[in-house]
């Protein structure tokens, strides 16, 4: 669906040049849900705008939905849908009118029926005469998505689809996105800075930082690449820290042990199975435990491993 090679975009401002995107290669297959994960300013939206013909790349090539980006942008436009981060509706225009205009611009046959079905699917029924500005945040976002889907594009781009929505609307929207792929076989390319979103929705994730793709893979695959599970121990007595560390470092499953005051942070292979062994080792060393916490690696750990920064801090 998308084949991009060396895509780059440099902006020249009065403060100097900004390399927003530096040589991005990506491949997206039909029917995939692929996520672009990265902190704000990483180049996600710029890459998206290049792929949707809104911005000319300063270097690189791409084929989107079967059409060459540079040679046939009009062809690309006919086959893609795009939902921008801030939406694209005028607050004074009624919902029905926006959808009708959108359908007319694509020359959708049987527009009335298509719109009715789409509204039913996206919980927008009965809102045809309401001005877009009077809708709730979730409704407005679903309207933006409806506008992106009205012409049944095989490929849809979603830029930060759930940013600014309450948790219930977010979960609701995730369901709709899954259904897009499940029912219509639509390929979805989304950008997000939410770890849980990338984890929950995407078949594959591309982690982007400072304009480059730094890691790629399925959510589980990426997490497996990180050293292991994180076990955090709180010792009852900071004095035993040295003994604890010594005992734990010797343990075969422990990859890394870092002590900060009373807290010991371990990276352990198969943490849930090794837990008992670790506790016994500590017991034998005479280090008493105050608390214990086991965490599977998160995408933030992946990001931290690959870039040296936490996604939460970088956002």
């Amino acid at each position: 669906m998308i084949e991009a090679s060396g895509l780059a975009r440099t902006f020249t401002t009065k403060h100097g040049t900004v390399e927003a995107v530096r040589g991005v290669d990506l491949t997206v297959g039909a029917g995939e849900i692929v996520g672009f994960l990265g902190p704000n300013g990483a180049g996600k939206t710029t890459t998206l705008r290049m792929l949707t013909t809104l911005l000319a790349p300063t270097a690189g090539t791409a084929t989107v939905a079967g059409h060459d980006l540079r040679a046939d942008p009009a062809g690309v436009r006919r086959r893609i849908g795009y939902v921008a981060q801030g939406g694209g509706t005028d607050p004074g225009v009624p919902v029905g009118e926006e959808l009708e205009l959108q359908a007319s611009l694509y020359g959708v046959a049987g527009a009335g029926e298509r719109i009715a079905k789409l509204c039913a699917r996206l919980d927008l029924e009965g809102l045809a005469d309401r001005p877009a500005g009077s809708l709730s945040g979730g409704q407005r976002r679903r309207l933006d998505i409806a506008l992106g889907l009205v012409h049944r594009p095989p490929l849809v781009f979603l830029d930060e689809p759930t940013t600014g929505l309450d948790p219930q609307s977010r979960g609701n929207l995730w369901e709709h996105i899954r259904r897009m792929r499940g029912e219509d076989g639509t390929t979805v390319f989304l950008t997000t800075h939410y770890l849980d979103e990338a984890d929950a929705l995407c078949d594959r994730i591309l982690i982007i930082d400072h304009g480059e793709i730094v890691a790629e893979g399925s959510p589980d695959g990426l997490k497996r690449r990180v050293s292991g599970d994180v076990v955090t121990l709180e010792l009852a007595d900071a004095g035993t820290a040295g003994k604890a560390r010594a005992a734990l470092s010797e343990h075969p499953a422990v990859r890394e042990a870092v002590v900060t005051g009373q807290t010991v942070r371990l990276t352990v292979h198969n943490g849930d199975r090794e837990l008992m062994g670790l506790i016994r080792a500590l017991d034998a060393a005479g280090a008493e435990l105050a608390s214990l916490h086991l965490a599977r690696p998160t995408l933030d750990d992946v990001f931290l491993t690959v870039t040296g920064r936490s996604l939460r801090d970088a956002a």
Partner: protein
């Protein structure tokens, strides 16, 4: 094929903006308010000047109403860019640009709507002008209207170009007022430039609207073949060509 698509897209964009205008009819009235007030509250002051040297032939209204119409053209059309800035801000322009819609249609659809609104306002002003005392041949009124509307198309296109360049109300508004006020004063809208001292007359001749005002005054007097009409028509056509070319190019450029 491409032309048919452009025409169809232009109609769709025109229809969208027309509906928006119809939803805010108050704005349409307000757009014509300034020239209307000039007509009603300033015009009568000029009736005694009719015989003054340099005022030109004809009664005060034949001299003043063309000025008011050009004022409508200039101010009414100059501010249409605000609508585009609002659409840029709300993301509507970007959303539409991802569709196959013709880039030119995004400009022409808007300009067509502006032309329609302005024509309605101009006819209203003419009717009021006639009620106040304007007497002009029908042909003159029609030609005058055509010139005024053509001018409005030019100004509107340039307004949209400026809106695309500034992208913000805070930058757009002061730029507009700085440009339009001297242009209005130098065009001889309120009082004919023939009453001006030589130096002011010279500066006025460097601005385009002077020729358009003189042309409309000439046709309102029934003098269709004068030098003023020829100059005014030439300036109007030149402005039209330049502004639409600039506008088309700019709308196409904002694009991969």
């Amino acid at each position: 094929m491409a032309l048919a698509q452009t025409a169809r897209d232009t109609y769709l964009i025109f229809r969208r903006h027309l509906r928006q205008t119809l939803r805010s009819k108050v704005a349409v009235v307000f757009g014509a308010l300034q020239p209307l007030l000039y007509l009603l509250l300033f015009g009568p002051l000029l009736t005694t000047m009719a015989g003054t040297r340099g005022f030109g032939g004809g009664n005060a209204w034949q001299v003043f109403v063309p000025g008011v119409l050009i004022q409508l053209s200039l101010f009414g059309a100059a501010f249409v860019g605000f609508g585009l800035i609002a659409d840029l801000r709300s993301g509507v322009v970007e959303r539409l640009r991802v569709t196959p819609v013709s880039r030119v249609a995004l400009l022409l659809g808007r300009v067509l709507r502006d032309t329609l609104v302005l024509s309605a306002q101009a006819v209203t002003l003419l009717v009021v002008g006639v009620a106040m005392g304007l007497r002009a041949p029908a042909a003159g009124l029609v030609i005058g209207l055509v010139i005024v509307v053509a001018l409005a198309v030019s100004v509107a296109s340039l307004s949209y170009v400026l809106a695309l360049m500034t992208r913000s109300e805070d930058a757009f508004a002061p730029l507009l007022t700085t440009v339009t006020l001297p242009l209005m004063l130098l065009s001889g809208m309120l009082l004919p430039m023939s009453m001006a001292p030589a130096w002011l007359n010279v500066i006025s001749r460097l601005t385009p609207f002077r020729y358009v005002v003189d042309a409309v005054r000439s046709v309102f007097l029934g003098d269709y073949a004068s030098a003023a009409v020829a100059e005014g028509a030439a300036v109007t056509v030149a402005l039209l060509v330049v502004s639409v070319a600039l506008g088309t190019r700019r709308f196409r450029r904002e694009n991969a």
